[in-house]
Subunit: 227 residues, 4 copies
DNA sequence: CATGAATGAGCCTTCATTCAT
DNA sequence: GATGAATGAAGGCTCATTCAT
């Protein structure tokens, strides 16, 4: 066993009860309009830097200078790299929940809905691939960001679990499957394939990916067309 | 002419990704038994440190002192953290290809085989979870390790693709699926669930995981029992 | 797009000798007066350390502490030992081009001018001997500093070559000599004697050195008095 | 002033009386024939490495492996880099004093002799340029090697001084010149031009260099043809 | 609010030298 | 004689964070 003396994240004892304290230490949102703009410039700059360098190699000084702002100003708005990364992600998440994305997944029977969902997800992932790469990296280092990714996954899974349960109730899906578990599994499949294709660069054509994943998903859950 | 091996700027016409020269810059294996032992002590120590601290937080000085060896000795056997990490993984891979693991997956019809394969994989993953966590982290930083992980995945996928093709030919699996693509997808599903469960700590009982993944796999590929 | 300046492997298509990009990677000059002062303190400290220890034995940490500044501050202003050494030399060069030095070499016929030039050069060299010793050492290690020394020599040689050509045209110097080559040779003679005397400690009285070198120079070029 | 604590060569007090102690700490010459051969292999290897890497960048481990000998063996024959470099130089000096070199400089009047001497020197220098580059570098770091270079220069200068004195006595050279000083100066000129041309790469054709230096030399000393 | 100079702990890496076999 | 594993001091460099202006 290594005789650690250095404080590693894993060793820090103040993990519990961090939930609602999440927002505690954060810097207050800027009061003035100028502050608003500076904060936004920083977030935009951070996104560019994270996309270009990844999470680990991004330096706060890079982000600051990319935003044409002094290092000191950075600390007016954020306490750490993790914090601004979270801010960047929030902005992106917002765009993922835009109505037009959801709308696309309604109507046309369960299979069409699944396909629409997959297509929307994969398009979103492809568009944000560089950032997802940074997130994947960040999640291996930072507890908070790991948690953030987990929650995002949970939300997805719960949503899908609900759909599955509905289909089961309507006799349109394999009733022997635990809805949440199954949802997690298919999400894992789609998510990881997206990662492989758009982050790692596996060379799979978009439509092929969509239809293959949809077919496997439908098969896996034994989805039947509504009629 | 001296046959220099040290990388002098003047000698280096190409910088990156020497492909098959992968093994080029590596330190020679120790000539004496004593050297062998030291090298092994280092690998064992490295494994403990990586498991405890993860890839990024592991310090070479930790590994050295964990092995009761001076820093200098580390560099007698390895050039970098990446290199010793590769050595640790090689050792682990070896254990994964032990005959008894393969044996477990033979006989009893396709479904039983799939279940046996999944069970073996998940057991192996659970046993090496800390290291897999380190690998996942390392792969986000280091090109070589990313490549190593990719190759490992490819090998898995190709093996499974072959099984799928055989089953298709025997009329026991959905003939519309591209075998390699499908293999990649189910592998992604199983691999990512293993990661979620044993690295991130999702609380899913082992047997439940095995049977759920097996069922989804079987469904997804429309596997039929051999009779 | 972030306009990255940090050398990331991916960004570096060419590695060496960026030629006119010489000034590229340099740290920006300090914006504030305080920064100016710190930078100057560092240069002054560096000069003392280089003079005391030579180029190779000078440690950046020595320079920093000699300037009563942290190591980190060193890197705010300079990227390397080579860079600060260049800065020290620039300061010294400036002092060498002061008008009074040039003025001393005008009037009194060619021989008097040559003598004045030699005297001025040798005085300057004697005063900066410790630094010249460091430069001579540095030039054997660092390509940039070697180049810098070469340019300095070229400038000298060209200036002298012009004088020689003029004298040849006025029939006051051996017309068979290639002016530039001859200038280089006599410069080599004077320069190397200065090195031997003031760096290596050859024991030659100043005036003796001046008159001997002047006489050899005059002889070598067959300089005639203007009358 | 930097407050040095580290022992720098300049600080070491035991400089005096080092003369005859020069050979003191040296390893004994090998008794066996095998030892002889190993020692010679090391010297030959060292020469290659010094020529390729320069003095500073040459590592003892490089020299050893280039000689197909273990590091340990190196220390059987030499105590340090400086020591083996001296051994390499000795071998080279021997070749410089070969009779045929001296022979070439006899007969044909003083000017022809001077030209022959210059030609022989420049040829020798050109052939050993890489080593001279290493020597020049070594001399800036190591007191002993600096001394060695100085002695070599002194020997040259004394020899030339004798010639000059003879010519002066025969009325064939400027009687106002101090022979030793003048010899040093012309040697400095020739030596430095050789360095510039063959080490730094100044592009001057060999014969042009010979004739130019000879002419300047002859002019400088006001050499008259014997009749 | 904004600035940017100053900090320094911390980690990596090198290589001459020793010594048990 | 020969070997090569073991050593560890030493120095370079980074970058998150603070704070006086």
């Amino acid at each position: 066993m290594p005789s650690r003396s250095r404080p590693t994240s894993a060793d820090t004892p103040h993990d519990v009860a961090a939930d609602e304290a999440d927002t505690a230490g954060q810097r207050p949102l800027p009061a003035t309009a100028r502050g608003q703009r500076t904060r936004e410039r920083l977030i935009a700059a951070a996104r560019r830097v994270f996309e270009h360098d990844g999470y680990l190699d991004a330096r706060l000084s890079d982000i600051s200078s990319e935003a044409n702002v002094s290092v000191g100003s950075f600390y007016v708005y954020f306490n750490s790299k993790e914090e601004i990364f979270t801010a960047v992600l929030e902005q992106v998440q917002d765009s993922a929940l835009h109505p037009h994305v959801r709308a696309a997944t309604r109507g046309g029977g369960p299979i069409a809905e699944i396909e629409a969902g997959n297509r929307a997800y994969l398009m979103w992932y492809r568009r944000n691939a560089r950032l997802m790469r940074a997130l994947e990296q960040a999640a291996t280092c930072d507890e908070n960001l790991r948690e953030l990714r987990r929650k995002r996954g949970e939300a997805f899974a719960r949503r899908n679990a609900r759909s599955i349960r509905e289909l089961q109730e309507r006799g349109l899906a394999d009733p022997d499957l635990d809805p949440l578990l199954a949802a997690k599994a298919v999400d894992a499949m789609v998510g990881r394939m997206a990662y492989g294709t758009y982050v790692l660069g596996d060379d799979i054509p978009f439509e092929e990916l969509v239809s293959m994943l949809t077919r496997l998903w439908v098969n896996a859950l034994k989805i039947k067309t509504g009629r």
